[in-house]
Symmetry: none
Subunit: 206 residues, 4 copies
């Protein structure tokens, strides 16, 4: 009697996830080009053949990995409440993000997400890109927060994109450090330092 479709699906999912997790770690640590499929399969304890049973190519693995990472991140970022005061929203975002840096896997996710996303999404003309941002929750979220904060006069004036570029690049840099130093050596960043990027430098009252 053959195994059921669910059985197969489960087997596939387990193995695929193992490979994806290994790739997530190795790509984050050493970069896509530096890591060979052999390293991935050895650490995932699977054969080359099986690897290509699940992924069409090394590039396909990266694509699927990024898809997973983006999906995961977008879902997580949903938790932040935008209706509240933008200062609090920003604080929530920073807490959320610094918490990510406490966990190995989450740091990899953060790093990969930013590394591959910054290449395409950040440097865009101006305001009308709002549509593009719809598929890009974190950037869109921050965009909204900044807009609101500027309207309320608590955030510094200027093109929100400038601040988005600075903020996410900084995050990427921090994630990079966190990855290569490890949890022990890495000194957690001060949330206020991150918040300060956006604050208007006059007296303000919430």
């Amino acid at each position: 009697m053959p195994r059921s479709k669910e059985d197969f699906k489960e087997i596939t999912l387990k193995r695929k996830n193992t490979i994806l997790e290994t790739a997530l770690r190795l790509f984050s640590l050493y970069g896509y080009d530096t890591i060979s499929i052999d390293q991935i399969t050895k650490e995932s304890k699977c054969s080359h053949g099986l690897f290509y049973h699940y992924f069409n190519s090394k590039q396909d693995l990266l694509d699927q990995l990024l898809k997973t990472v983006i999906h995961y991140w977008n879902k997580e970022i949903e938790q932040i409440d935008l209706t509240q005061n933008p200062l609090f929203a920003l604080k929530d975002l920073n807490v959320f993000v610094t918490n990510y840096l406490k966990d190995d896997v989450k740091t990899y996710i953060l790093y990969l997400f930013l590394t591959f996303h910054l290449q395409k999404n950040i440097p865009v003309p101006k305001i009308k890109n709002k549509e593009k941002f719809k598929n890009n929750r974190p950037f869109a979220k921050l965009f909204e927060i900044i807009n609101k904060g500027q309207e309320l006069g608590v955030f510094v004036e200027g093109d929100p994109l400038d601040y988005i570029r600075i903020y996410f690049s900084a995050l990427q840099g921090l994630a990079y450090s966190r990855i290569h130093l490890g949890a022990k050596k890495f000194k957690p960043v001060n949330i206020d330092a991150l918040t300060n990027i956006f604050l208007k430098k006059e007296e303000y009252h919430v």
Copy 2:
């Protein structure tokens, strides 16, 4: 007519410099691992043999390139006057840096410098690293500026390293965008946005 020894040396240097410049561009654009020696030699219009005449290995090329880049950068950064008001010093630094982003080659230099330097120098324990920073002008410079600014009360409190991490990671991100968008599509960053990273949120008068 036989060329003089100096002529030869000049020719030599020209050839070597061509290779270094090509590598600078290609490494910045596509990464060290992605670029093959064949690509470098082809674009430099030199043979493999000549390449290995000047460089012991691909890694050696990178080392020499980084050495050159670091040396160049350190020298340039010397121009900033530390004795002045830290706000002005910071502004000078930001002007200096944003000007770099206007020039292709200088952007490559900035990017490579930060990419390879951030990996080693930023995420260090705490204050006693001052010594390490001696070999690292830009970081040391900024460290001094921040220290002074904090003493004068115009810069936000907190570990200067946090701000250094944020600042240089942001710069790297900007350089990355600049490289991949090209001069035309890249929107120059607002200097005030960079400065704002460090400012205290009270009124200040220069």
Copy 3:
């Protein structure tokens, strides 16, 4: 209601036949080496496991396929009446063969038969091979026809094998064209052109 044993056998044969037909088509179109078992199983909508239930190996599939093809062909060719005038017999053969080229599957059969048979059976020394030909109906048939025609003086003189080689190679070439052009683009060959291979260049009266 449980299916009878015969039902099962029929199902089995259906599955196996599907594989054989798929292989027939793919091998004819792209060649044995080019086609992978994965392609065959995918197009046959069966699993690798089932494939190896029916066939011991890829080579075994080919062997069984050829066996089937040869058997089929030999049986069909029996229909041609040898006792009649060799000119009529030849015409019958040509009609038979050009009719084959009107049907996709039959063209595959013809092509495979000739491709794999020409490699082994055609280029044999001389007359004593008559025995070998016993297992090879089409060649033997033609051999007989030619012999008779030569005796009657309507066929050109010379070693019948020469004409057999020419005739069947030509057929293979035509089948090849037919396969790769498809039914629409393929221009049917003139039967007289095929017959002409064997005719003596004097006047003849049927």
Copy 4:
């Protein structure tokens, strides 16, 4: 002192020719898909690296090989004098071709030429293809010969393309036999048998 460009060209040409000749033989004997680059390089006594120094891919090797083969064949076929009586021209062609079958390498060339050319050039609509034939000397030559012969009434009527298909397919079959039997076992084909394909089967006077 570096070697001159001519030196390099000579070295390259020698090695490339060795590889091309090996490939010609192996592809003809066993087929493109069956032969691995490893087999080619081993028999050519060169490394994989060198192979890819000269050829971009296995497919590129085949392309270059076919180009060479076609060029060679087209040049050789030029020797046949078309202005003479078509019967003599046809005889010349047949002598030329059967001579080819006496030499190993030339047989490979003939076989490869026909194998890869028959796939594209033979089965074409009708008469207006004359233009296409311009790039295809052997087919064009035969076309002209047949046309002339039909006008003179010594060649059988009908679409010349039918006879071309039959003739060249037969040749390919003969070359195939010759390759796989070797020079010793292969029985040379009778030139008259080849000529007979085209002859009108009535009395004629030259």
